[in-house]
């Protein structure tokens, strides 16, 4: 018996007697000897709660979190403030512990939240319909690709190289099964090269994918990108950063077919990359090919308003091999955080926060670009992230610069060259509302000295690495 089980010896005897067997072992008698173990697993024995806490705290202490340094890391996940109300709501047993709402009469809480979430995502993206969440950003983009495949059966995707490298790679992985080819369109001056884009799109193209803002932090001009797709009957898919949509035009209004994205910035903590959620919104005509759960409104027998999972004939548990997706468990709790966050920000807060980010980002970009040797990698409009060239030559040098900054408890950002060798000393810097002007000034100081040291060839601290 562990602290999570409750079968005492007395219980066990009574239970075995009721079953009519002599031992628990008998219950497993049907498992052939050859595949039934008698030896215990090679795992350490269990621990008490306090000891597990101590061990996990020790592991946590070996990580440098955004509370332990002044961090300008972004590149897909951002250190925005998560209001306390979200912690509270996510911790409520009523939201935390239920399964997917298969019994709507006792799941109106979760179902209503899904309905509200869908509404918020539609409002944000300007799309007609949203599902109740998918796993996360990159796989959301791949899910949009699958929808396109189901829609038109064409055999090629076109994707901007300015889309997050993880999303590009995920698309390639997941469309390998149904044998799509993927054409990547390069960047020009920080944004998708429109000429190459138009050339790449022909009548065999199922869907095109771009990102807003893109991986370099640059705001794309979506209209011509979408127009080019429409000309050839291809679906256009935008991967959008939802927190920028108080400032930037809603992709739906610009005519995209599907708008997807990473939801972490909407009230989800960093969690070393997950769980967060992906959102998936589309034009009405695609609704019966959408993946995942969708909540809909209805009434009960007494006429009370209520909510249910609906359009389930799309789904795996009904349609099996003919389903429009295999997704089952998604990210309901994280999506809850998303809609609570958006309600917390509110109609005006979304805009005000966006404006603050734009202003601080502009200030940061100017301030850092003024460092000797450092230059902006592009001068496209930016909301809360931008790319610099550090003027230090190559990735190794960038790594040394970062290590110098880290020694002063500043994390200046993510090196670009890992994924974009064409920007050998590029650095991606993210600004959130939690990075004050004073911290930006600190970064300018620390980065300035680190770049200067690097450029003067001073001996560097042991270089770090980075994830990608």
């Amino acid at each position: 018996m562990t602290r999570y089980t409750a079968v005492t010896d007395t219980d066990r005897s009574a239970m075995l007697e009721a079953i009519g067997v002599a031992s628990v072992g008998e219950l497993f008698a049907e498992i052939p000897d050859a595949v039934r173990r008698s030896a215990p697993l090679d795992l350490p024995e269990g621990l008490g709660e306090a000891e597990v806490y101590a061990e996990l705290r020790a592991l946590a202490a070996r990580n440098t979190s955004v509370e332990d340094e002044v961090s300008f890391l972004g590149a897909g996940m951002y250190d925005h403030y998560v209001p306390a109300v979200i912690d509270m709501l996510m911790a409520r047993s009523e939201f935390l512990t239920p399964y997917t709402p298969y019994q709507p009469e006792i799941s109106q809480g979760g179902l209503q939240v899904m309905f509200e979430y869908q509404t918020a995502i539609c409002e944000l993206t300007g799309m007609d319909v949203s599902n109740a969440s998918v796993y996360e950003g990159p796989s959301a983009l791949a899910a949009a690709a699958y929808l396109a495949k189901l829609t038109n059966g064409r055999k090629r995707f076109v994707i901007s190289r300015a889309v997050h490298p993880h999303a590009r790679e995920t698309l390639t992985t997941l469309c390998a099964g149904y044998e799509m080819s993927v054409t990547e369109v390069p960047l020009a001056d920080g944004v998708t090269d429109l000429v190459a884009w138009s050339e790449a799109i022909e009548d065999d193209v199922s869907a095109v994918f771009f990102s807003q803002p893109n991986y370099l932090g640059a705001v794309e001009d979506p209209a011509p990108l979408i127009a080019a797709a429409r000309e050839h009957g291809a679906l256009s898919v935008c991967s959008a950063d939802p927190l920028t949509l108080g400032i930037l035009e809603a992709p739906g209004r610009l005519g995209v077919d599907v708008c997807v994205g990473e939801g972490q910035t909407l009230g989800n903590r960093l969690d070393f990359g997950g769980p967060s959620f992906g959102f998936f919104a589309a034009r009405d005509e695609h609704v019966r090919r959408m993946p995942g759960r969708i909540a809909g409104e209805t009434v009960d027998v007494d006429g009370r308003r209520g909510f249910v999972l609906t359009l389930q004939t799309r789904e795996q548990h009904i349609r099996r091999e003919k389903a429009t997706s295999n997704i089952c468990t998604a990210q309901a709790l994280n999506a809850l955080a998303g809609v609570v966050y958006l309600s917390w920000l509110g109609r005006h807060g979304l805009v005000e926060l966006g404006e603050l980010l734009v202003q601080r980002t502009a200030y940061a970009r100017d301030t850092l670009a003024a460092i000797d040797g450092v230059a902006a990698l592009h001068d496209q409009p930016a909301i809360r992230e931008f790319a610099l060239s550090l003027g230090v030559g190559d990735l190794e040098a960038v790594r040394r610069v970062i290590a110098r900054c880290a020694a002063e408890h500043v994390n200046p950002g993510h090196p670009l060259a890992i994924d974009y060798p064409e920007y050998p000393d590029g650095l991606l810097v993210a600004i959130t509302e939690q990075r004050s002007r004073a911290e930006i000034d600190l970064l300018a100081d620390v980065l300035g000295r680190a770049v200067a040291a690097e450029r003067s060839g001073a001996p560097a601290p042991r270089r770090g690495g980075e994830a990608r």
């Binding site: 173990r37 997950g274 769980p275």
Partner: protein, 506 residues
Amino acid sequence: MTRAETAMQRDRAVTIFEKGQAGRRAFSPPPLDVPERPLDELIPPRLRRSEPARLPEVSEPELVRHYVRVSRRNFDLDTGFYPLGSCTMKHNPRLHERVAGLSGHARLHPLQDPQRAQGALELMWNLERALAEIAGLPYVSLQPSAGSHGELAGVLLTRAYHEDRGAPRRTVLTPDTAHGTNPATVTMAGYDVVKVGTNAAGGVDLDDLRAKADEDTACLMLTNPNTLGLFDANIEEIVRIVHDVGATAYYDGANLNAVMGISRPGDMGFDIVHFNLHKSFTQPHGGGGPGAGPIAVSERIAPYLPRPVIVRHGGDRSNGSGREFDLDYERPKSIGRLRGFQGNYGCFVRAYAYIRSLGASGLRDASEVAVLNANYLLARLRQLGVCDLLPPAYDRICMHEFALTGAPMKSELGIRTLDLAKRLLDHGYHPPTVYFPLLVDEALLIEPTETETKETLDGFAEVIAEILREAREDPEVARNAPYTTPVRRLDEAGAAKKPVLRQPLG
């Protein structure tokens, strides 16, 4: 109904979009502390939003009260018994929320230099080792975000394996008891589904399997114990048949809770296994996620695993680089990423805490008690005469769950499985899974899990018996149930016919 209409029933559903008033706010923006520049200069008007998103405008108290009230319209595992078959609704220890919330875990950026994320990588490494041991397979990828994502990874690995050997294949075998995600995954991975029948004992029909396994077969996907809660005693033969035609054997680990430390998929011969950390490893379900679906694979599949892969450098901890644990991207045969970053780390923290709490014998205890509880509940239902109307679909010792058929109840009492389920709601129980597996008529799939007490099982059995007694007297009671839930039976057909999928805004 008026006097006795509950406060929650009176309180008709109102969405957050219908709350509030223009101008209210829960968020106070930080002050602008940099020199302000004209917005038009920074973001050209033509790229800017033309009409604001009509998000709610509510004060913080309104926001909190709205969602707390809404939450109370949910049933949950901490409130009551939740014997939802195939879902393993076991207790979610709060310790896990505490440790996952430590800032060193919760506020760690996924692109932090691995040298400064050694704790996270060590945790993932340790979790991989533990899962490998539990699966009986040497290599693990934590990346997949849920069971079905793990399935997709697994079938894509199979594809990569066959292609790498220069012998691509076309079909994947799935038993007719399979969970819907299995066939759906097969399609998404570009294969065709070939269904395999079920024999009289509830296991795979070996003849049918032999007939259908051939050189076109890429893989067999199997759940064992299967979705009927039955362990397939022919498992070795099944895997042999599959391997003999050169196909891989995929183990859907959704039912692993029956056999942890008792029987390992790797030992059964499987090549690929997915785990549902949100089932066997108690990551809370969150009303539909998040979860995590790590996969464990055999040697021959390992080269194709998603990247990056966590590696541990030999030698001392610092190892020159300061990175004992690292992320390895140089995996030429990898199928590539399945998603961004390294997976649902928050779920890994919880699963790891669980494994550390239970240890080897605790995990085995969990499975033993899960199976004991299921068999006891079945026995108790039998004792109470419930099984006269709701007989087990297959009359055998079950594993962690069992399937009943409501067919006799339907014909004798005139109530359906659905009615029974709805009447349970008035008694404060979550019903079992209903109408799955598909091949059981009026199915009821009951999975009590190991964290429930005998008293709870007894109480549940008695309530079922009581509902049947009540239905014998007056079947209308069940047919019109529930009565006291926040809403009563809902018009699902209407919802699908004229879908209202978002709040219309004025």
